[in-house]
Structure formats: structure tokens, C-alpha cells
């Protein structure tokens, strides 16, 4: 677990979803959009806990760069271990654009269908809004990274 790693002079990064660990390895630089903007983390960063927005998490490891499209979630740096906890994380070329676009559309429809007088309307809408943002983010990143 978290304690097995870190503490040394090398930064590690883990991207974890409810289904599985998506990325687990060394990193020289991790960039993610946290609550107050983009944050880059390098070795020996101060301990930090924040949220991440639906967006992309970029992990640079030597010459390689790993990119993950994520939903919103949480971000923690502690003892040279970066943890990104998100409900969804996929590489941009795994994104099914049509499916993501459908999600956006569905969320928009549901958003407008929430009855005006529903007692927990704000909460329901906030939930739908999250889904829409994740879908939009997937569409955007697919366009950005998928060449064809």
C-alpha cells in the first residue's frame, strides 16, 4: 500500500480507480488540475491533499509521457508518492468518442428534465453536471490526442 513506497529520492505515482490501479510506477513529474489550478509535482514535494477536476493527468517518466483522461476525484502527495483517486481514468486513445458524446447529451437532457420543484434539485443537478463534465473532458481529450 502507500507505505511500501515513497520516502526515498524517487517520486512515485499511482492512478487508482474503483475498478483497478491504472498506473503505478516511477515519475519525474506529475501534472494535474487540482482545486486551484494546474499543479506540477516533482520529487520532495510538500504533503498536500486536494481535489482534481475532470481533466488530464500527465506523468513524465524519463523520456516517456503517460496521459490519462480522468473524471473528477482526489489528489494526494505524501512522502514522494502521488496518488490520484478518480472514478474513471483511461488513456486518450482508449476513449470511445461516441460513447462520451452520448454521455454529454444524456446529461444535458437529464439536467433539463429535473423538475423545478424537486426538493433535492440542486444536488441532483450537481451530480448530473459532474457526469457532463467528465463526458466533455473525454471528448475534448480524444480530439486532442487521437490522431485519426
Amino acid at each position: 500500500m502507500a507505505e511500501e513506497r515513497g520516502g526515498g529520492r524517487q517520486l512515485f505515482c499511482r492512478v487508482i480507480t474503483p475498478e483497478e490501479i491504472v498506473y503505478d510506477g516511477e515519475a519525474d513529474l506529475v501534472v494535474a488540475r487540482i482545486a486551484d489550478g494546474d499543479l506540477g509535482v516533482m520529487v520532495d514535494h510538500a504533503p498536500l491533499v486536494s481535489t482534481v477536476e475532470a481533466g488530464e493527468v500527465r506523468i513524465r517518466e524519463g523520456e516517456e509521457q503517460h496521459v490519462y483522461a480522468t473524471s473528477d476525484g482526489f489528489f494526494k502527495v505524501s512522502e514522494n508518492l502521488v496518488q490520484v483517486l478518480v472514478e474513471e481514468a483511461v488513456t486518450p486513445d482508449e476513449i470511445d468518442v461516441d460513447e462520451a458524446a452520448d454521455r454529454v447529451e444524456e446529461a444535458e437532457r437529464e439536467f433539463s428534465e429535473v423538475p423545478e420543484d424537486a426538493e433535492d434539485r440542486d444536488r441532483v443537478r450537481a451530480e448530473i453536471e459532474r457526469r457532463r463534465k467528465t463526458g466533455e473532458n473525454f471528448v475534448r481529450l480524444a480530439r486532442k490526442y487521437q490522431s485519426s
Binding site: 500500500m1 481535489t51 512522502e79 496518488q83 433535492d120
Partner: protein
């Protein structure tokens, strides 16, 4: 003593039962392996969300009801069972634990049920159900966990419940599943464990612990429900596999005993016939 024909019929029917239970056992074994792998893969997320919850709870001021709780008027219990039976004591033990837990509470009670077995149980006992979730116990999706978690958080937020507990079968192995009670809300206050990890000393929260807390709590509840659903699913298949193995073994034993009895009966019949023939022949010779 049963006749030869009766015994034959019984043996055939028992062998058929054994075939069915063996098939169920095989199917459960496959599903069990899948479910077990899922639980194991999902654990890191749940553990890390829990750890983060502890970090944030430590950093946030304790005056929010999410952490400190409030006067307990209503206790909400969410029980998770399977949709189907034929799994030994799997469902019964969760429901028994639930009833015991309910009996221990002095506050009012509210109940949420997940799984058809739980729903049927509470309906039969005329226990009112706040929310009902069915149809996914053998292969839950995160979507379902979100639905259940959302409902639990909402009941707490709306002050319809002041404490929320989850009761489910924790998966230990194919042979053992233990019913456990877990308090979800208010978030269990940090018990002073001896091993304080180093990260406790200093932690920066962006933008501040309270904001992170507000975002984290619903996800935390979802995650705990998700974990419980996965554990319960793995436990269900494991329990069914074990139950069906026992059933198959019992059926085979029974078939063996009956076959023995049948052979004895047949032997007796043959002996009887020989005796009759010999008796008849002797009677003729004498005459």
C-alpha cells in the same frame, strides 16, 4: 422395507439433483473467481479513499455534523444481501445481524435494503424501507454503488438519519463470510491508534480541509458501499459454491446408501426366488 422399484426411482431422482447442484457449483466457482479478482483489484481504491478520509478528518475542524455527528434521533441501517438464495447461511446471517443491531438501538430506526433477499425479509416482517435496491448483487457496478451511496448521504444531509450503518458480509474466503457492521456517517472519529503515520505531522489542504471534506464525504460513502457490494458478491458466489458442494456430496452419499439398499433388496429377492424354486422342485421330487 422399500421395494426395488421405489429405490430405483429414488436413486435416479437423487442423481438428478446431484447433477443440478454440481452444475450450480461449477457456475458459482467461475463467478466466484471473477468476483474475488474484482474485490482484490478494488481494494487499493477503497483503502486510499479511507486513508484520505482520515487525513482530511484530521485537518478539518470538527464542528461539522459529518464528522462530529449530532444528537441521534434516527439510526439508518443499510443491509446488503444477495438477490438469490441457495447460498447456505449467507443471507440469513446478515439479516440476523441486522435484527440484532436494530434491537440494540434506543433511537428510532430506518432501514435500507439492497438485494431481493433483504427486501423480502423486511417486507415479511413489516419493517418500513426507505430505499430498495435489487437486481445486481451477483455483479455490481459502480453506478449502483453511487445510487445507494447517494441515497444514504441524502438521508443524512436531510437529517432524516443521524447515523448511518452498513451491514454486509465481508468476504474472507470461499468458506467464510463474516457479517460486519460499519458506521459510515458521521465519519468515524479518529481513534488514537499507536501508529501515527508521518504524513499526520504536516499536510497542506487545497483550498482548505472543509471544502475537500464536503467533496470527499459523498465519494467516501459511495466507495464504502462499492467495497461492500463487491465483498458481498464474492461472498455470495463463495457461499453458493460451498453450499452446492455440500449438497452434491450429500446427494452422492445418499445415492450410495440407497444403491446399497437396492442391491440388498435385489439379493433378497433372488434368494427368495431360488428358495421357492428349490422348494418347488423338492416338493415335486418327494411327490
Amino acid at each position: 422395507m422399500a421395494t426395488l422399484r421405489d429405490l430405483k426411482r429414488q436413486i435416479t431422482s437423487i442423481k438428478n439433483i446431484a447433477k443440478v447442484t454440481e452444475a450450480l457449483q461449477t457456475v458459482s466457482a467461475v463467478k466466484f473467481r471473477k468476483a474475488e479478482a474484482r474485490v482484490k483489484k478494488a481494494r487499493p481504491y477503497a483503502e486510499n479513499v479511507e486513508q484520505m478520509m482520515r487525513d482530511v478528518a484530521r485537518g478539518a475542524s470538527a464542528n461539522t455534523p459529518l464528522l462530529a455527528g449530532r444528537e441521534v434521533r434516527t439510526v439508518l441501517v443499510a443491509s446488503i444481501t444477495a438477490d438469490r438464495g441457495l447460498a447456505g447461511g449467507f443471507n440469513a446471517q446478515v439479516l440476523r445481524r441486522t435484527m440484532q443491531f436494530r434491537g440494540e438501538q434506543s433511537a428510532d430506526l430506518a432501514q435500507v435494503a439492497s438485494g431481493r433477499k433483504a427486501v423480502a425479509f423486511f417486507r415479511f416482517r413489516r419493517v418500513g424501507l426507505e430505499e430498495v435496491f435489487t437486481g445486481f448483487s451477483d455483479s455490481p457496478t459502480y453506478e449502483k454503488a453511487r445510487e445507494i451511496g447517494g441515497a444514504l448521504t441524502r438521508l443524512f444531509d436531510d437529517e432524516e438519519a443521524d447515523e448511518v450503518y452498513l451491514i454486509y458480509n465481508r468476504f474472507e474466503s470461499a468458506l467464510t463470510q463474516k457479517p460486519v457492521v460499519k458506521r459510515l456517517l458521521p465519519v468515524a472519529s479518529e481513534e488514537d491508534e499507536g501508529e501515527e503515520d508521518a504524513s499526520a505531522s504536516y499536510m497542506e489542504y487545497v483550498p482548505d480541509p472543509e471544502t475537500v471534506l464536503r467533496r470527499l464525504v459523498p465519494r467516501y460513502v459511495e466507495t464504502m458501499v462499492w467495497q461492500a457490494l463487491l465483498e458481498s458478491a464474492a461472498g455470495e458466489h463463495g457461499a453458493r459454491m460451498t453450499a452446492m458442494k455440500n449438497a452434491t456430496d450429500n446427494a452422492n452419499d445418499l445415492a450410495k446408501n440407497l444403491t446399497l439398499q437396492m442391491n440388498k433388496a435385489r439379493q433378497a429377492q433372488i434368494t427368495q426366488e431360488i428358495l421357492e424354486i428349490v422348494g418347488g422342485a423338492e416338493a415335486l421330487a418327494a411327490g
